[in-house]
């Protein structure tokens, strides 16, 4: 797994720095625009004839164009940087999940898909807005404060008093919002997972009249999500309200001071006791812009709180110590050819397994009560789990990182609960290769395919939607035989099938064995077990070959 530093640290890219600086530049154009307005209105009061309205308006417009241009360049650089960052995280999650051998403790496939999808998207507003807003909040108020001080110490004093209080409130409220927002993020993931879970069961549950309770349960979850969201929003809105309040009071005080001074009622606050009308209007125009960067930062602060919650989750995902899969799980490689398999002293997840030798062409049934480790044994042989102790030898070479990929090329795998890809039936059997007709016949799928309106192009989904249990099993058999493997590992191949079809599947497997294939079957089915050369009975905790 990639080191934590590459994912969640705060390295700045060149694009981002450029974007942040440009965004500051755009904000600094406004004092110039405001000066033109102040100059025109002030001039109209003192000497209307001297004002040239159209050139002044065009000057204002030209500055606006300049500002927009700079802003667009800033946004572009920031968007590029944000996309690079999000794409990087997405790739890391994809990569990590492909490399890990076990499920993440973070949740099911739905939770991780939500993390890589909409949750990472929550980083975008943060990346676009937070740093530029922070820089603007540090520079723009200072610039305006200096301009204000140049004209009037009273206005500067008002700004100085109102300004620094804002970050204090922001920090307090932002901190509360982060906790609330974390709670909400957790809930969003759970809701996605619960939805997949509930929806998968929807059609079956309706058949026992459980649709109503299912919807009720979901309604409860949805309501609780709303409550939590409102709790976050109440705090989020409160903090921006505090800010707006300060800004409003500041603007009102400046407006009133300027008004009274211009009337001649106040003789203090400005240098020399007088203030020109243009300067007064200029101060009024600048005051809201003193607060604006702080308000932007406050808005971005909540983006940051949401982003932090997401990044924490990514971090948590990353810190998980998950065993890596043996081999790389890709295609290619060489078929290892028929080899004798020797299992010695295997122990995994508290289960001990007997020493077993499997010669090429052997037919072996693994039996025993539920939980005795039948499935685990098959997974160990397939190299899906690394045994905690003991070794698996492939004709003398151990099954390890180097040999696993080649070894698996020669295996056909029939899991008990297959996950069908959200792709065509054909792809689910042949993974892109055309399905061999003899395979379809052996798995008794030809009749089924003929009945499907789109044949082998029919889309499958999770749990093989649209297929009965028996049909799904036959698809996994076809998939196992498709690659003409040396060995088939089958977990309960005849479960879910009626006697007739079970016999047919058994026939298919036996025919494969007759042709020289090695067969290892975990089964409850006594009839099937009896047709194997050898039965290995696993005991609950202590394996004994018999």
């Amino acid at each position: 797994m990639p080191s934590s530093a590459t994912l969640t640290d705060s390295t700045r890219s060149l694009d981002e720095t450029r974007g942040v600086l440009l965004s500051l530049g755009a904000a600094l154009v406004w004092p110039l625009q405001a000066a033109i307005i102040a100059w025109v209105i002030g001039g109209l009061l003192t000497d209307p004839g001297r004002i040239a309205p159209v050139p002044a308006a065009l000057g204002f417009l030209a500055l606006a164009v300049l500002r927009s241009g700079i802003d667009m360049a800033a946004q572009r650089a920031l968007a590029d940087a944000a996309e690079a960052r999000i794409a990087g995280l997405r790739a890391a999650i994809l990569d990590g999940e492909a490399r890990a051998a076990t499920a993440s403790g973070l949740g099911g496939a739905g939770a991780l898909a939500a993390l890589a999808g909409e949750k990472l998207e929550a980083l975008r507003p943060y990346l676009l807005r937070y740093r530029p807003a922070r820089l603007r909040a540090m520079v723009v108020p200072l610039v305006i404060l200096v301009i204000a001080l140049w004209n009037s110490w009273a206005v500067a004093l008002v700004l100085l008093m109102a300004g620094p209080l804002i970050p204090v409130f922001m920090a307090l409220v932002g901190w509360a919002a982060k906790t609330a927002s974390e709670r909400q993020m957790v809930e969003i993931g759970q809701l996605s997972d619960l939805l997949v879970d509930r929806l998968a069961a929807l059609s079956d549950l309706r058949l026992i009249g459980a649709g109503g309770p299912l919807v009720d349960g979901f309604a409860e979850t949805s309501e609780s999500l709303r409550d939590r969201t409102m709790a976050v929003l109440k705090i989020a809105f409160l903090s921006s309200t505090v800010l707006e309040l300060f800004a409003a009071i500041g603007v009102a005080m400046v407006a009133i001071w300027v008004g009274f001074t211009l009337l001649g009622e106040l003789g203090w606050g400005s240098w020399g006791g007088t203030l020109s009308p243009a300067a007064g209007i200029y101060l009024l125009l600048l005051t809201p812009e003193f607060f604006q960067p702080l308000r932007d930062l406050a808005a971005a602060w909540h983006d940051r709180a949401a982003a932090d919650a997401v990044l924490d989750e990514v971090d948590q995902w990353q810190r998980e110590d998950r065993p890596a899969r043996l081999g790389h799980g890709g295609g290619g490689g060489m078929d290892a050819g028929p080899v004798a398999l020797r299992l010695t002293g295997l122990r995994h997840r508290g289960l001990d397994f007997p020493d077993i030798e499997i010669a090429p062409g052997a037919r072996i049934a693994v039996t025993g009560p539920s939980g005795c480790g039948k499935t685990t044994l098959l997974r160990l042989i397939a190299g899906l789990d690394r045994p905690e102790a003991g070794r698996i030898l492939l004709g003398g070479r151990p099954l390890d990182e180097d040999t696993a990929t080649d070894w698996r090329r020669g295996i056909g795998w029939m899991p008990q609960a297959p996950h069908f890809l959200n792709r065509s039936l054909r792809h689910n059997i042949g993974f892109g290769d055309p399905v061999r007709p003899e395979v379809l016949r052996a798995a008794h799928l030809d009749g089924l395919l003929a009945g499907l309106p789109k044949g082998d192009l029919t889309l499958l989904g999770e749990r093989g939607a649209g297929l009965s249990g028996g049909e799904a099993r036959r698809v996994t058999l076809a998939r196992a035989m498709q690659g003409a493997p040396q060995m088939i590992l089958a977990d309960e191949p005849t479960a879910d099938l009626d006697a007739h079809t079970a016999a047919a599947i058994a026939e298919g497997l036996m025919a494969y064995a007759e042709a020289g294939g090695t067969l290892v079957i975990a089964t409850h089915d006594g009839d099937l077990a009896a047709r194997m050369d050898r039965v290995i009975r696993l005991d609950n905790t202590r394996g004994e070959a018999s």
């Binding site: 309205p53 002044a56 009337l263 959200n422 993974f431």
Partner: protein, 546 residues
């Protein structure tokens, strides 16, 4: 249409929110306009030496009132509109599930969980914005621009009112319409790519083992990465459109402010209006920029919203209601007469026309090879499928004549798949009988020989993973049967009920079922000797080739 529906649910909350939104914007425009007028008029009075006569108190009190009132109104507006939106959306989710619950069985089966999960979570999140970022700002902004124009007409000068009114109404609308047009395609692409990457990541994670053994893991990873790339490309295009929109809106505001400045100055020079009145126009133009700012946000989301609404709407409608009869007798019998089914209107019969009567307290087993239509008969008997010929009578009336509630309460079908959900054992059991007492739950578990196992696992509150993970196949099977017993149905339809159970347990479970529901009609699709032996009689289903 969807908007109407969203609004209708919470009309009062929405109208209150709208009223506050208009108040906020109007107060903002009034505040800036008044401040500009106040300062300019004060300066004029001061210069004229008549400052003493100038009534400063009314305007300065107004300035303070507007500043504080606006802040308060803003907080209220945000809370009310968000709450109304979330309520409406919670309602929407539930209606969606309710609508889907009334869909025909086959439709529901085909809804693949992946695609469907996307629909519910992503679409509803997208619609989150419909009220808040589209409808409300449009209504509030339009109202304020019109009001402000009328005020400017009366207070300043008709030509300035006309320029600002038409400019702010028309230009942003054009930007919106144009932007929406060019953003449609990339928005659709981004959305599709996002859904694809989600579904592919789910496939990769849920199918990790199968993909590993078949050497397809890297291919699956590339497949998902592909979707990520497509998303990046579309996202970059959308970002660019957003930047252009932002620039167009900024320049609209700047251009109209420049126009108000130039026209105002010329009118002052011509002696038509005072400088103070010209200042109102300029300041109002600056403030109105805020009313049109939401256009950008609306644009960035309209693409997703339209698609989401288009997908969600058809699913909301509740399909034709079931029958109306409520008076089902206490112990109805089940009668199938000349029952016939040809899927999809094709001419192909699944089985030869079937006639069968099952009396209360009787167990009948349907036998026949896999694919001969046993499961179909059960679905027909449950009213989940419409027969192509013949009738299904329950309690003396056609199954379709009974209301949905009665059918849900009195008939239960346990399909082959074990429909379990994440949650406690008790939650899973209570899906069928929401109010059941713990004693009843234990009784049902005893009947299916599962009580011992559940006790060992930690009792009714022990939790299952997604889709019931944590139970073995046989345990899950028995839990599902216990749930059907709790339902206490008058007609129980079982599809291969003892699959995955060993001989002795299967026998005990069948006996337990009979004891627990002595009066019920039990029809089962059987493929094991033990099931057929437990039945009072069996009936072979003939496969027909016609």
């Amino acid at each position: 249409m969807l908007v109407v529906m969203l609004v209708r649910g919470e009309r009062r909350a929405f109208l209150r929110g709208l009223a506050l939104a208009v108040t906020v914007l109007a107060m903002g425009v009034a505040l800036l306009g008044l401040s500009g007028w106040f300062i300019t008029a004060a300066a004029a009075a001061g210069m004229a030496g008549i400052g003493i006569l100038f009534n400063v108190f009314a305007p300065s009190a107004m300035v303070r009132l507007l500043a504080l009132g606006r802040t308060a109104a803003r907080y209220g507006e945000r809370l009310l509109t968000h709450d109304a939106t979330l309520r409406a959306l919670s309602h929407l989710r539930i209606r969606l599930l309710q609508g889907l619950l009334t869909r025909p069985y086959r439709t529901l089966e085909r809804l693949r969980a992946n695609t469907f999960l996307n629909r519910v979570t992503a679409d509803i999140d997208a619609l989150d914005g419909a009220l808040l970022r589209l409808v409300l700002p449009a209504l509030a902004g339009g109202a304020v621009i019109v009001t402000a124009s009328v005020a400017l007409w009366l207070l300043v000068y008709p030509s300035i009112a006309l320029i600002l009114g038409t400019g702010f109404l028309l230009l942003p609308t054009m930007v919106f319409l144009l932007g929406q047009r060019i953003a449609r395609r990339p928005a659709r692409q981004a959305e599709a790519a996002m859904q694809a990457s989600r579904s592919r990541l789910i496939d990769l994670i849920a199918g990790r083992d199968d993909l590993t053994v078949y050497g397809q893991l890297q291919a699956a990873e590339d497949h998902a990465r592909n979707a990520h790339l497509r998303h990046s490309t579309a996202r970059a295009r959308l970002d660019r459109i957003e930047r252009l929109t932002q620039a167009a809106l900024d320049l609209t505001g700047a251009g109209l402010t420049a126009a108000a400045l130039a026209v105002g100055a010329m009118l002052v020079q011509a002696g038509e209006i005072s400088a103070a009145r010209a200042a109102i126009g300029v300041f109002a133009a600056l403030a109105l920029g805020e009313a049109v700012a939401p256009v950008r946000r609306a644009l960035s989301e309209i693409g997703r919203m339209t698609q989401a609404a288009r997908r969600i709407l058809p699913s909301l409608a509740v399909a034709a209601p079931g029958g109306t009869r409520e008076d089902m007798p206490g112990t109805p019998s089940l009668a199938l007469r000349d029952l016939d089914y040809r899927p999809g209107g094709s001419g192909r019969r699944v089985f030869a026309p079937l006639s069968l009567t099952v009396a209360p307290g009787e167990i009948v087993a349907l036998t026949g090879p896999s694919g001969c239509g046993k499961s179909t008969v059960l679905l027909l008997a449950a009213g989940a499928l419409e027969p192509s010929g013949g009738t299904v009578d329950i309690g003396g009336a056609a199954v379709g004549a009974w209301s949905r509630e009665v059918l849900g309460a009195r008939i239960a079908l346990v399909p082959q798949r074990n429909a379990l959900i994440a949650g406690s054992i008790a939650e899973n059991l209570r899906l069928a009988a929401p109010g059941a007492a713990p004693r009843d739950l234990w009784q049902a578990l005893e009947a299916v020989q599962l009580a011992e196992t559940i006790r060992a696992r930690g009792g009714l509150d022990s939790r299952l993973g997604f889709r019931g993970a944590g139970l073995s196949g046989g345990e899950a099977r028995r839990l599902v049967l216990a749930r059907a017993i709790l339902k206490r149905p008058a007609v129980l339809l079982l599809d291969e009920p003892t699959e995955g159970l060993d001989e002795a347990t299967a026998q005990a479970v069948m006996a337990g079922l009979r004891r627990a529901l002595p009066e019920a009609v039990i029809l089962l699709a059987a493929h094991r000797r033990v099931e057929i032996a437990a039945a009072d009689r069996s009936m072979a289903l003939d496969r027909t080739e016609s």
